[in-house]
Subunit: 381 residues, 4 copies
């Protein structure tokens, strides 16, 4: 009834193998005062490759020091050097200035209502934008990346023609990431034809101010706008095959039902799958536990050592206990058992703002650099 | 975005039409200090047909006044007359005494570890036992009743031959009741071949002390021992057909995944169904809203006026807002939409200790009396 | 360990003695879409004296049916007749129209940022405004009323000279009401010189959207803007003496520390008091249990039978269990014990949106009418 | 509105200056399966001085591997080497065996019902017992230690005459520790005559199973058995003066009111103080921020760099955001403001199972070793 592995949050936060040539590179965070924006700032504060040089937010925050503009709600203190940065507005002028000041890489935590246009402006200014917003995710020439799953989709960038050398990469929806990391080992080993998924998603996924407190005590909300559609469509793109410079979507059929529950961090998914080939529970477990990808091969700083952990306890995984495994970058799977309607049922859990939003985007950026897709940034092993 | 109907908890608590001949009848509650036991006491305290005359609990409570033995945790005060009753042990001697003192009807909130034997003892002593425990639910000659759904299964009692005139009736598991009330109108109108259900169940369903508080803040538990099996098997019995004095189980295939979430009362279910006949969303909605059964026909005191309510709000039903509809005896359904893998998906919510445990058992008792199955108790309309 | 009294939420909701001459009177609710506004609508929906005829909200809601404008979050359904009312803007034109259509009484749940001016406009139009906002509470000619405590302060209305016959009455801050109801019996019997109070206040007190959910799970906030000052100053006014048409504030010294905790409804207060005369615990208890006032004498519809209940359980009162006593209109006190620094310590609990905001305001209105302070409305016993 | 300092949980977990001569020493944990016992195991798992060699629990767990006996509920995995240890019973035979196998140091997380006798048995067997139980805390020859506050009380050990060389040291109640760390800088600088404290304590302080979940959702409990007495008496002993080998209690008058709130970890205290000398808010703040003691001088592994941090945000400290500062070993203070009844009011927060129970005990052990009070264990700088 104990955890099988020792990987944990007391591990060093970053792996130490892959190094950036020429020292830390300046980066910008767009939408830095929101919930995901703060997570970006927190993770970037001591990242071995990156240094936060610019932060943008809405008009009303522009001109203020970040420390005043933000209602900092992370469990680690805001570093004074970042607190002192003056917040910029999120527009084409800021884009040009950021690029001129040497920020080749930009993380976007923008609201979808403004992300589409603003991210394009930064790419046109010559920045590589890694976005957590949904605006460009389904664009045919924009890779939608889970680095362990579809690193080859990076090749789509060759079809993106920003004259400036800029580019847009996207990170999937936070619940999609957990699902796809659990599915990919099965897809690879046995094929998966159909997936039924019911989510119980954390409050932090709703951003700030998000759900009113009165809806989150002695209650749950069986609805998250647009979320079911994202799970159903993004999964097919991510699992899709790169064919002649285009993504051919995977034919997997997905049905999703999404719920908001009173949990701070960590999305829990109840999944049923129909496999294409026969497989025993031991086969599935082995597929998960031996799964790894480019981030592990390349020893990327934020990559987990083992992306998928299977837990034996009958009542695992649980969000509060297991979301932080491998600094929140690994997912956990448990309760594998036969399903009366499909082949198997299981439960999977992923940290929605680490593996899911800010950490996932950071891993996308690390991958893109390591694979030589960001002009001017290069990794030395 | 408002509720469609006026039925609410400010309605009179009991309907006023069916009356018991000869005034209030004495009843006993077995396992009266636990969570469900307390709900029985609360509901019986002012029931128009019944009067609590005897309460049993474990050896350690026997002999104490109920008011001392119980850690009363209901939101209404414990009536002094009931608080003063001396708690009895739960054994054959108590059974004989209860019957001798005129209690023909006994409600059991016993733990399954003792329920089987104790309930048989009370039935042998001549009492009609209505049980919320799982011990006898799947016995072939014991009816497992949701009064709106399978009142005809009462006929099984004819096969129960307690020489004394006693009998055992059972109430299903609290999550099964909500599922079956949502399914029955569809089964009747269109046929249902397959059902996938994921539950998010309230803490009160775990009894006392139940889940430790540390597991219920910023957390959920994706496991409830034995619950998935109960949903999968009880549903088939309840929807089954009475054939020559035996229940032929319904062939519906059910797959369930059960979770405990930080909600006080109210089980929320995400359901996908495959129908046997084509039906539009409007057809389903009509099937639910026009559904009623014997409890409504007989105007039983605790029966809801309309057992199933459909809510239009995109984010309904929610446990804290909707569980108390029709004094907790109606279920609510919402979010009906197509499913990529089955025909339809929807969400249903039921109050697990009102509709689900104590209130459901009370309705079973009222039905059995109204239909003449309890010796010596008779309803006059 | 059980509650001493039978008064409970299953009591009839309204007492049945005092009747309004001429049938139900039309009333308006200002700020009807917010949290307190919804409570007003809920309570007024079946009030024996009143009928909701007009609802106001912000410009963006004006013109819509109330059922569309409001995100109804009460546990009872919104009555269709009220849902159909067209929302009006909150301005002088609405005030004139309301009065012209016969609404002599207006309940204000407005935000303090707009309440001051708007309430004056309605009073000038000839309406009697009962306000839950803080804007006019400390005005010297405006009564700040807890009807059991300082009904005589109604006489201040004689100094309010709205030519139209209109008037403004106010209801105290929700945490002040609980404190003052617990203190007044002690002030009357023994005198109270000093009071130290630490509050643990419910989320519903913050209105909508209020506290973000992420601050209300596994957390508390040791700060509520302006709340400590309100407790310290309002208490002195309410306990003050009416002298020659003016309120002379009570000299009681109050120190308050206010906290927001993850509770839906019910403010819990830890109170220490220094008395002016010696008194035993039994004396205090008797003072509380025998306390009553004009609402009880006049049998006002929403008045509790006994305003203050003392609970014997060592761990009472608790918000979820005891806030609904006497339909939320009674307060509970428990844990009376000596204090090392003052004379006694105790805990008191009151329902902040029933006794505290909407219900308290309603009781103020009922009192004002019964005492003849509202032109054109009269009670017949 | 940001944190002033960079100290955070991403700091290295242990300071690296003081080293134990001769490598890691074997230690035992008594009561290792409970909530505090698990925290001991978690902290000891990678402690630079100690190695867990023995674990005890109740009879029912004895003989099982720890990994099976424990319901591990920490957020880091249980190390396999510790999981494999066979659990021993908690008796004199185990004591003799532990000592024989080289465990000179023993941490006790025993329940007070068994701690008194068992701890004496281990001390008699020659072990130095550092206990988190209340059993021996108020014994006149047992030091009750908060290492930054009263390290000189260690001298009491000279009066403890266990012939074997064993000894008993104690760690205060978890809420007392936070209070005393906030008070000591004020006592030292200005003198403190009277303290009024109201606590809002975390669920983890109640151990396992602790509070039922149903009491911890939409609720709080204004009572913790024995807690108020502990705060009132332990504070006087800890702040007391060592005089001729005895503790003369401090004359400070303390009144405490204790509440359990739905927070996982972190006790929040609302404190009012009466000082003996005049002091400005800036004086108090300086006293807190410059406070340090022996643990900082000796660079003990688990010691925080700065024991007390003052936070400027108007709504700080908050448990979820600030409890983990300096790996949970620093306390935070905020909201300093004048009090109408005393001199000042403020809020203080401490992590109850890190600074408060297991971490605090570990610091006591480190101090005792560094100061040469544990036979056979010695620090080299």
């Amino acid at each position: 009834m104990f955890w099988e592995r020792e990987a944990n949050r007391d591990d060093p936060k970053w792996t130490d193998l892959a190094r950036l040539a020429g020292g830390r590179a300046g980066v910008a965070v767009l939408g830095a005062t929101g919930s995901v924006g703060q997570r970006f700032v927190q993770l970037l504060a001591d990242h071995p490759w990156f240094e936060v040089r610019a932060l943008t937010a809405s008009e009303s925050s522009a001109g203020k020091p970040y420390g005043e503009a933000v209602a900092w709600a992370q469990t680690t203190p805001l570093p004074p050097a970042i607190a002192a940065l003056e917040v910029r507005s999120t527009d084409a002028a800021s884009a040009a200035a950021c690029r001129a000041e040497g920020c080749r890489l930009v993380f976007s935590a923008l609201d979808p209502s403004v992300a589409g246009e603003a991210e394009t402006a930064f790419a046109e200014a010559g920045c590589t934008v890694v976005s957590n917003a949904r605006s460009h995710r389904m664009d045919p020439d924009v890779p939608l990346l889970v680095p362990e799953v579809n690193a080859d989709h990076l090749a789509l960038l060759r079809r993106q023609r920003f004259a400036s050398g800029g580019a847009i990469l996207t990170n999937p929806n936070c619940s999609t990431i957990g699902l796809v990391l659990a599915l990919k080992p099965l897809v690879k080993a046995f094929g998966v034809a159909r997936v039924h998924v019911v989510t119980m998603q954390a409050l932090s996924g709703a951003g700030l101010p998000g759900v009113p407190a009165a809806s989150a005590v002695d209650n749950l909300i069986p609805y998250i706008g647009g979320e079911e559609e994202k799970l159903e469509t993004e999964t097919r793109k991510i699992l899709g095959r790169l064919d002649d410079g285009r993504i051919e979507e995977h034919e997997i059929a997905v049905s999703a039902a999404c719920n908001r529950v009173p949990v701070i961090d960590g999305h829990t998914l109840c999944v049923s799958v129909e496999l294409e080939a026969k497989a025993s529970p031991a086969d599935l477990r082995k597929a998960w536990e031996t799964f790894s990808g480019q981030p592990q091969l390349l020893s990327l700083p934020i990559a987990p050592a083992q992306p998928v952990h299977y837990l034996d306890a009958p009542d695992a995984p649980q969000p509060r206990l297991h979301r932080d495994l491998e600094r929140g970058m690994a997912i956990t799977v448990g309760r594998l058992r036969p399903c009366n309607l499909f082949d198997y049922k299981f439960v999977t859990l992923s940290h929605n703002t680490l593996r899911g939003a800010a950490g996932g985007s950071l891993l996308v950026a690390e991958l893109a650099i390591a694979r030589g897709y960001v002009d001017g940034l290069k990794v030395e092993q």
